[in-house]
C-alpha cells in the first residue's frame, strides 16, 4: 500500500492516566511502526485497555501525548475516523440486526447509505456472519458478537486496526479464522495493534511486541530481537566427565557455561555457536547433541513481569 515502514501509526510520549489515586498508565512511551502486527501484552489490569482508550480519545490523559497516524489525539480528533477499533467486549444495540448495527456506525462515520450498506455486507462476509446478518444482535452468542466487533473494526478498510482481545470468547476454529484474517490484513498493508494476553497468539502473529506491567512499559521491540537476546546454546554430552571437561575448556577461553544436569549445560546467549563447537573440538570434546534454544514468549513474559498480576486499572 506504499506506507513508509518507519512511520509510526501509534505513538505515545510520556503518557499518564490516573483514576483518582490509581495510576493506570505511568510515563508510557510507545511506538507502533506502520505495517506491523504489534502485540501489546500484559497481565489483567496492566493498563492495556486504558492505553487503547486514551489512544482512541475515549479517555483524557492525565499527562503526556498520544498520536495516531501522525496526528495528535484529543476527544473528537478527525484522525479517529481513519482507525478501526474493537475495545474490550464489543458493544452493539441489541434491538438492531448485525447489518443495521454496522450500517448505523458506518452512517455515523459519514458514509453514504449505499456505500455504508455495501461495506457492512462486505465486513460481515469477512467474519462469516452473512447468514445471520438480519438477526438481532441481542440473540448473538459471545463469539458472534466478537466477530461482529471485528467486522466493525474492519469496516471501510482503515489503515490502522486496533483489536483488544479479539479472540476472547471464540472457539478454536474461530480463533484460527481470526488469526488468518489478521495476517491477511497486514499483507494488504494494514497495521494491526493487537492487545492480548494470549501469548501463543502474540508469538504466532506479532512482528513487534511491547510488554506492559503496572502501567509501565517493560520492554518493546521486534519479536525476533526479544528472543534473540535471550536465546542460548544447549549442549548434551555422552558422559558427565565430558560435560565437566567441556565447561572447563570453554571457561579457559572466557565462555561461561552453566551445568543443567549431569550430561548437559547451557552457554550464554552472546556466544557464537560455531566458535563454541570449535573450542570444544580443539580440546578434543565432542557434544552428542547441540541445540539453539530460546524461551517461549510465556517464559519471557513471566521473566519481564515477575509473573505477577497488576493493580487493577481501568
Amino acid at each position: 500500500m506504499g506506507r513508509a515502514v518507519s512511520q509510526a501509526v501509534i505513538e505515545t510520549r510520556g503518557l499518564r492516566k490516573a483514576f483518582g489515586s490509581v495510576l493506570a498508565l505511568d510515563d508510557l512511551t510507545l511506538r507502533v511502526p506502520a505495517g506491523s502486527i504489534f502485540g501489546y501484552l500484559g497481565p489483567n489490569g496492566a493498563g492495556k485497555t486504558t492505553t487503547i482508550r486514551v489512544v482512541l480519545g475515549l479517555l483524557r490523559p492525565s499527562g503526556g501525548e498520544a498520536y495516531l497516524l501522525g496526528e495528535p489525539v484529543t476527544p473528537g480528533s478527525t484522525v479517529l475516523s481513519r482507525v478501526g477499533a474493537m475495545v474490550e467486549r464489543p458493544a452493539f444495540y441489541p434491538y438492531l440486526s448485525a447489518h443495521d448495527n454496522l450500517l448505523l456506525f458506518a452512517s455515523a462515520r459519514g458514509l453514504a447509505p449505499s456505500r455504508a450498506a455495501e461495506l457492512s455486507d462486505l465486513a460481515l462476509g469477512r467474519v462469516e456472519l452473512t447468514d445471520v446478518a438480519r438477526r438481532k444482535v441481542g440473540g448473538f452468542s459471545t463469539g458472534m458478537r466478537q466477530r461482529l466487533g471485528i467486522a466493525l473494526a474492519l469496516l471501510g478498510d482503515p489503515p490502522l486496526v486496533i483489536l483488544d482481545e479479539p479472540t476472547a470468547g471464540l472457539d478454536p476454529e474461530g480463533m484460527i479464522d481470526v488469526r488468518v484474517l489478521i495476517s491477511g490484513l497486514v499483507r494488504d498493508g494494514t497495521t494491526v495493534f493487537l492487545s492480548t494476553h494470549l501469548l501463543a497468539e502474540a508469538e504466532q502473529l506479532c512482528t513487534q511486541v511491547a510488554v506492559l506491567h503496572r502501567g509501565r512499559m517493560v520492554t518493546s521491540g521486534p519479536t525476533a530481537d526479544l528472543f534473540a537476546a535471550r536465546q542460548h546454546l544447549w549442549l548434551r554430552f555422552a558422559a558427565p566427565t565430558d560435560r565437566d571437561a567441556g565447561i572447563r575448556a570453554l571457561a579457559a577461553v572466557g565462555i561461561a557455561a552453566e551445568p543443567d544436569d549431569a550430561l548437559s549445560c547451557t552457554v550464554a546467549t552472546e556466544a557464537d555457536g560455531t566458535r563454541v563447537i570449535r573450542y570444544l573440538a580443539d580440546a578434543g570434546i565432542y557434544p552428542a547433541e547441540v541445540a539453539v534454544r530460546r524461551p517461549s514468549l510465556e517464559q519471557l513474559y513471566i521473566e519481564l513481569t515477575g509473573g505477577k498480576g497488576s493493580e487493577p486499572a481501568a
Binding site: L59, G76, S81, P90, Y95, L111
Partner: protein, 285 residues
Amino acid sequence: MIGLLRAEWLRQRKRRDIWLVALALVALSIPAYVSGVSNALVNIGYIPEPDFPPDFIEQVQEQSRQELLRYAFPMSIGTVIQNGQILILALVAYLAAAVTGAEFAYGTIRTSLVAHADRRGFLIVRLAAMAVTALLLIGLLVVLGALLPLGASLLGTSLPEVADPDIGGLVGFVAVTFLATCFVIGLTTLWAILIRNAAIALVLTIAYVLIEGAVVGLIVRAAGEDSVVRWLLPVADLQLLFGRVSGAQMGAEMPTLSAISVGIAWVLAFWAASVRVLARADIRE
C-alpha cells in the same frame, strides 16, 4: 452531520419503546376525551331540583356548554394536548433517560464515539432527534385532537360549532408544550450523562421538579407573591407559560415575551451543559 442524523434515525425508529410511548399516548388520550365529552353532555342534560333558582340552573348549563366547546374542533386539539400534557412530559423524560442511559448500559457509547469521535456533534444530533420525536408525539396528539370530534359525530354525538376559535392560543399551547419537552430532554439527558444510569436520571428529573417547587415556595415566602424571581426558575416559568396559553391570570408581573425568553434560555443552558459534560467525560464503559 447528515450521516449522524441517518444513524440516529435508524437507532430511534427501531426502538420498540418509542412506538409503545406513541401507542400509550393514543391509548390514554382517547378515553380521556370520551370521558370529558360524556361528563359535559351529562351536565348539560342535568335536571335540577325544582326549587333551584332559574339563573343558577342557566349558569350551570352554560358552563357545561362552554365545557363541551372544548371538545369540538378545533378547540379539541388544545384539550387533547392539555389532557396529555403531563403524560407527554413524563414519556419524553423516560425516552431521554432510556435513550442516553442505554448507551452507557449497553456500552454502545464507546462504539458510537469510536465510529464518530465528535462528541458535541453526536449529542447535538441526539438531542435534536429527541426533540423531533417529541414534536412528532405532540403532532400525534394534534391529529388525535382533530380526529376525535369527527369520530364523536360519526358515533352520533352532537358537538357545538366553535364560532370564534382561538387559533393563536392553540398554536401557543403546542409551542409551550414543545418548549417544555425540550427542557425535559435537556434536563434528563444531563442527568443520564452525569449518572450514566437511565432509572436514576428519571428519578432525578422528578426530584428536580419537586425541589424547584419547594424553592419557589421559599421565594414566595421571602419575597412575596408578586416577586418575579420565582418565574426565572425553569419549571415555574413553564407553568407560567402554560397558564398564559390557557387564559389563566397568573404571573401578571412577568411579560409573556420575557417568560418565553427565560424558557428558551433554560433549554439552551441544559442542552449546552449536556454537550459540555459529554465532551469532557472519560468514557470508561
